[in-house]
Amino acid sequence: MMNKKHMTWRWIALCTLLMLIFFLDIAIGPVRIPLKSVLRIILSLPGEDSTVHYIIGQIRIPKACTAVIAGCGLSVSGLQMQTLFRNPLAEPSVLGVTAGASLGVAAIMLGGGSIVTLYTIRELGISGSWLITLAGCIGAAGIMLLVILISRKVRDNMMMLIIGVMVSTATLAIISVWQYFSDAELIKDYLLWTFGSLGGVTGTQLYILGAVTLAGLILSFLSSKMLDALLLGENYARSMGVTIHRARVIIICSTSLLAGSITAFCGPIGFVGIAVPQMARSIFSTSSHRILIPACCLLGTGLILLCDLIGQWPGNQTALPINIITALVGAPMVVWIILGKNNLSIYG
């Protein structure tokens, strides 16, 4: 019942801004390419030399697309977890889902021994991509299931967060132990992966990541009515006809698909899952998931693209890892949101 015209303008403004950032993200990079050439390539006009074509078509556009996918997936999985746990600080990296995905990836990367490194997996093409996606998703789902099992014993939101952080820490510790007994070469690969990178996801991998994320997003959007009911807590939701077990399974599935696959390909990217849903709630002034899910997609995409832009600020020869930027941008943003809106109390 919000002023419709007002809302429409916000959507339009957001979309315009997003397209602008998307274009900038493609246009700006270590290699200077004139805006005109960028536009020509995007519009598939002939006449640009093959190097520029390669940089735009094979590096920058896939990277921007990965940013879009990661932005949508991470923020929507954050939103779902916040609703499920009724906790505004819940997100994949806080409650251990990212750690779970990391464990899955570590199992492949470190466990595979010297034969299989991330890059050899990537060389494997389709089957390798599926393998790493599967490992990430299974790891994420496993940890999320564990956290949910514990959460049934714990009613308190704060306790739940602490438990989530502990599960996350324990999972990361397992990975560390594993690293300790692994070869230096493998550890280096794994460490590079943990910094997070939007680059390097190309071709088939991009399609696989896109397809899995899309599946997760569709699942999430279809359960938006159920998520709305869960805002009132499980008892009320059940009294309105929600089958709680089924709801949990659906949310675990879509969160694991989203956070698991993105973490597998881009590394653990934090803070997007917390910051974006909060921003979406403030900007669109609603709790309805039918609006929040698309809003999270747009804002999440914008935030990741922006972080990517900052990471490869013009004049910088090497791009900073995305994980560092999201933490640097995201952490103050979360503090600012908490101070400004006391949103923490809204989940009572």
Binding site: D228, L231, N235, Y236, S239, M240, V242, T243, S345, Y347
Partner: protein, 352 residues
């Protein structure tokens, strides 16, 4: 009354929890039924299992023993939340304070069992939401956020949400908790009216004995020890002494004459009271507060006739214009009495 439709029947029902795999019965076994158009108040001391019983009756948790029949549904079909959602709506004590959820969207959530895949509301749904908001008188703040409401307003919104769910049965767990007295009375009257006008069967648990006695068609009294449940018209339960039996604790006494609890019962200070309404009612309250046991005859005695209070003792007769003055004189009297009784040989002086 007897021809009213029976909405819910529970037979030999035991409500409780499984602790370490062993069932622990908190309330029951008990057999109850809820008829359409009736408002039932579930009363009982803290810890008697009111919430547990209500959760069991509403299908939120499985019964340990016995059977429940809700409008023909029993056994396995009670485990289907989507079926139950069209039969029972709940107002729970679970906190709901989403600052971004508007009152309208909260009430609209009540249409959940009927709305489409994505929760889109049809004309019929919107009409029922509007009706629910009108019934509870919350139209004025339809656009406000839940987080900005007072406790009383929020409770009305949760009631409107339950109404919008449009179910024959409605269960409310301590809906009057945290509300001020006018809001409590308002809410109870509203529920009573709803039961009558919409032919819903309403079950609510409460600690408001006075209010429950006034508005309930039926009272269920849950006892703490043994989980026994006494039920009947509130007046019957008062007259046959069930109320006293359930609620009597040391230092608290249920007064059948007034339907309320006295805090200072069992005092040795006796005083007789005669007079006319309403003066006699309020005088009794004042005397009980001061710790007197009020009787109908004897000395000292007070006669309250609306214009003044006449205090008669063995030795004197005084008239007071206000209860304040009367109480002041009484406290002087009792203090001097106590002084005398404490002094050895004082007894002799009073009788002389």
């Amino acid at each position: 009354m007897s021809d009213a439709q029976t909405l819910l029947t529970a037979h030999q029902l035991a409500a409780g929890y499984h602790v370490g795999g062993r069932p622990v019965t908190i309330a029951g076994p008990l057999s109850v039924s809820i008829q359409a158009g009736r408002m039932i108040c579930l009363l009982g001391p803290n810890g008697a299992g009111k919430s547990t019983l209500m959760r069991t009756l509403s299908g939120l948790q499985p019964a340990l023993e016995g059977s429940i029949d809700i409008l023909g549904d029993r056994g396995a079909s009670l485990h289907s939340p989507s079926r139950l959602a069209r039969k029972i709506s709940l107002v729970l004590t679970d906190p709901v304070r989403h600052s971004n959820l508007t009152v309208y969207s909260m009430v609209a959530l009540g249409r959940y069992p009927y709305s489409g895949w994505l929760g889109t509301l049809h004309e019929e749904d919107k009409r029922i939401v509007a009706w629910a908001m009108a019934m509870t008188g919350i139209e004025a703040y339809a656009e406000r956020k839940m987080g900005t409401l007072s406790d009383g307003e929020r409770q009305k919104v949760m009631l409107a949400r339950a109404l919008a769910q449009d179910t024959p049965l409605m269960m409310l767990d301590e809906p009057t908790a945290h509300l001020d007295l006018p809001s409590r009375i308002q809410l109870m009257q509203l529920l009573h009216k709803l039961a009558r006008t919409t032919q819903k069967g309403i079950l609510l648990s409460t600690h408001e004995l006075d209010l429950a006695l006034q508005v309930a068609d039926e009272v269920w009294l849950l006892q703490k020890a043994g989980g026994r449940l006494e039920k009947g018209a509130p007046e019957d339960l008062v007259l046959n002494g069930t109320f006293e039996a359930v609620f009597d604790k040391e230092g608290i006494h249920f007064d059948k004459n007034t339907g309320s609890f006295n805090i200072h019962a069992g005092s040795s200070k006796k005083i007789a009271l005669t007079g006319d309404d309403p003066a006699i009612f309020w005088t009794r309250r004042a005397l009980q507060r001061e710790g007197f046991e009020v009787t109908s005859e004897g000395l000292p005695s007070i006669h309250a006739d609306g214009t003044g209070w006449t205090l008669k003792t063995t030795s004197a007769r005084q008239v007071f214009a206000t209860i304040t003055a009367l109480l002041k004189a009484l406290s002087a009297l009792t203090i001097s009495n106590e002084d005398k009784s404490e002094t050895p040989g004082g007894e002799g002086k009073t009788t002389s």
